[in-house]
Symmetry: C2
Subunit: 253 residues, 2 copies
């Protein structure tokens, strides 16, 4: 069994914290990385503030194997992520020739080009994250991966990292659906959790077509253990007179 490989996601942007924009990047990054054997253990949403960005990056890059940021790499005055990452690593900010070349392929008047070229700024020593959406590339500085905030562009960038990151075990999930209240099975679940410490059993109540139910999600690296625990959970549901449904592995319930 491989080790756990962990990540922290930093969502940078006042527009998320003001409630103007609903973030969907964390969800996409978490599920994508999860499939690659990298577990997101922590996420932060922080404002476009230099000190906060620098301090946050420096705090989390030492704690997690990978850090992924989204937002703040455009061409306007409020796009300060690249400068902040350079400060965090205490290196100069430079214009990356490959990003500049891509930007120059689309001609523009001098002043507009100068603004666009702000998107070519990376900390000295950074590698690039390719951008199949056609725009300027993102970059990586050591274990910190800096991506765009626009979901379509972020997703394009992230997709290019598949197979290039260190990976650990993949956490799989098996989901059992039961039309019962959580309290009815809480005791049994706690006992099963206690018996199988290598898995993580979560209970998520829902209301669907006027019926209350609970998704019992068993997470772990070993699918044979997941199956054993799922059987125990199903037995516990039957013991209170309900018929459980096994939604199977990695179900979107």
């Amino acid at each position: 069994m491989n080790q756990a490989v962990t990540a922290c996601v930093i969502i940078i942007g006042n527009e998320i914290l003001s409630g103007r924009t609903q973030d969907i990047n964390l969800n996409h990054i978490a599920s994508t990385l999860g499939g690659w054997g990298i577990q997101v253990h922590h996420a932060r949403v922080i404002p476009d503030d230099e000190d906060i960005i620098v301090n946050t990056i420096n705090e989390v890059r030492k704690t997690y194997d990978y850090v992924f940021t989204t937002g703040g790499i455009g061409p306007t005055h409020d796009d300060i992520t690249a400068v902040c990452v350079a400060k965090a690593f205490d290196v100069p900010i430079i214009q990356h020739p490959d990003i500049a070349e891509r930007i120059r392929q689309r001609p523009a008047p001098d002043d507009i080009m100068a603004s666009r070229l702000l998107m070519a700024r990376v900390p000295e020593g950074a590698g690039l994250i390719d951008n199949p959406s056609g725009g300027p590339q993102g970059f990586a500085m050591e274990n910190v991966y800096v991506m765009a905030g626009i979901p379509r562009v972020m997703q394009a960038m992230l997709s290019t990292l598949e197979g290039k990151l260190e990976s650990g075990f993949v956490v799989r999930s098996q989901t059992v659906r039961a039309y019962t209240g959580e309290s009815s099975i809480a005791d049994a679940l706690a006992r099963i959790q206690n018996d199988f410490p290598s898995v993580d059993i979560g209970s998520y109540p829902f209301l669907r077509e006027e019926r209350y139910g609970t998704h019992l999600v068993i997470r772990g690296a070993d699918t044979s253990v997941l199956a054993t625990v799922a059987d125990a959970v199903m037995d516990a549901v039957r013991a209170i007179g309900e018929e459980p449904e096994d939604l199977g592995l990695d179900a979107d319930a």
Copy 2:
């Protein structure tokens, strides 16, 4: 002018970090509090882990005026938020008679009732957050407000706090839409931002019906300053040959 009143939101739950569930609570809390004159300056998403929850609460409750948590107050073994808040404040956990009374209104066998009553646990000294959705109440310990994770229930709880929290100035926004690339107006925007440090100008590119455009969002407490800055931004857009659209105050663009 009142002072700024700030908040940190803590989203507690493995299901958000695994990508299984898309969080929508942060967005609702941020926009609701914003309207009440409380600004969310920071948010964290953390796992169902006792040490992490305790340490996070103790870190942020000293930094922000308010802390709002969602998730982990149900009746199953993975619902550990109340216990963690008690540990963070170093007080015993007790059964709150008012929550217990509400839970007992719905009869159940003894073992199920025992599980349900786990939802009545609060740190000693906590006040209640009413729950118009009918379920058990949330609670507040000093400046830490502990709410359910299910969006419908969280929203019901939060609504009961209107008018009961300390409030500062309300940050308003005025949005100008321009069908132009960000780079074309980056210089002008930076100059305007420099001239009006009391506002915060954000630039958010979009693609709509195959046309690229940018929402220029001006945020600040004084609507007359917002109007002045919006005029300057509209002039800057006209100067590059585009006709801007003033979407007005607090527009959902």
